[in-house]
Symmetry: C2
Subunit: 188 residues, 2 copies
DNA sequence: AGCGTTGGCCAACGAGCGTTGACATGCAGG
DNA sequence: CCTGCATGTCAACGCTCGTTGGCCAACGCT
């Protein structure tokens, strides 16, 4: 019974998921092979197929992107930028899931769509809650995402030394005013 | 003779290069297959090997990243941000070369190294020319590259609709102050 | 005209991929 | 005990990939 909450194979299933998350994050979709994931999880490749159907199913199971963005409405308006940047950093460092989805999104059309969905479902509402003029919401959210994904790209995907060398608090101090301005300042 | 300036095969060679640039930009390294490139160029896959040795050689021939950054020393200091952003947009829209190298850099270790080299050889000097304190140069250059690559990622690689919808002049108007601040403002 | 060189195509190779199905093993419930 | 199902192993499939080498046609030279 697939609905049974506790199965004998749970250890295998989570081993597969963990190995898959690491591989997708490190290698992207094409180079993260089922065989390599199975090797990492110390099981047979066919087990992946049995439990997740196919490679796409495995990726879908690995990635359930929830940014868990804070409720900006309950924050002082001038602290939204800092809260967002700080939260983003924490989410990215939590595990490899966001790195995986970004890396896959760059080379895989389905991954790119998933990224768009995250943007639309999770970041746009934040901009809506903060922005005065509803007509400017997409523009301002786009600016914010360009800065935040740029940080993630250079720090967690490309790992440019100059960016990884930055201290967490310095990043927050520098980027918070940028995000704040994109969200709330008058259009230039 | 490989040094001969004009060969009978020049048309084929450039056809291969153009098809390769488009494929690498659209698909990344792994999914841009030699067979697909050859099909686009209407030649046999073995011709690619003959002229460029192997797939890596082809990629190296396609990509010779030169940002041609303006000489910031000759500019008024407060216009550097605007000049950089505007120049970056023009370079990215010129052809698919920069998109190709970014897409490849995300999934391919060799591509990532190439990106690091571009950063080090071309962007760091700009920061050096503008920055008062030499010790802060890497930090400030890292911040600039996070914003600029973030724009390129969301606009030219992921093509998030909200970002592609932005007008060129609006991007410059919004991002120029950010870059300017990262380069010249006092540390927060 | 004859010949070497260059450009191009074709068929094939070995390897790695995702995926499948047959088969062994171990654990339950009667 | 035997039966049934979940779990795991193994070998193989069809495919696509990068890459190779042999073959033919077109050209430039003397």
């Amino acid at each position: 019974m697939p609905v049974n909450p506790s199965r004998r194979s749970d250890a295998t299933r989570t081993a597969i998921l963990e190995a898959a998350r690491a591989r997708f994050a490190a290698d992207g979709y094409e180079r993260a092979t089922i065989r390599a994931i199975a090797r990492d999880a110390k099981i047979d490749p066919s087990m992946v197929m049995r439990y997740y159907g196919n490679k796409e199913g495995l990726f879908a199971a690995v990635v359930s992107p929830d940014l868990r963005l804070p409720d900006v409405a309950s924050l002082p308006r001038e602290e939204v930028g800092r809260a967002l940047v700080s939260h983003f950093l924490r989410m990215w460092e939590e595990n490899g899931e966001l790195t995986a989805i970004l890396r896959v999104g760059v080379t895989n059309p389905a991954g790119a769509e998933r990224l768009q969905k995250v943007f639309k479902d999770q970041l746009l509402p934040v901009a809506e809650a903060v922005c005065p003029d509803p007509g400017q919401v997409p523009e301002r959210a786009a600016l914010v995402v360009s800065q935040l994904l740029g940080l993630a790209l250079t720090r967690y995907v490309l790992r440019l030394p100059a960016v990884t060398a930055l201290a967490r608090e310095d990043i927050v101090a520098w980027l918070a005013p940028t995000v704040q301005r994109y969200l709330t300042a008058a259009r230039p």
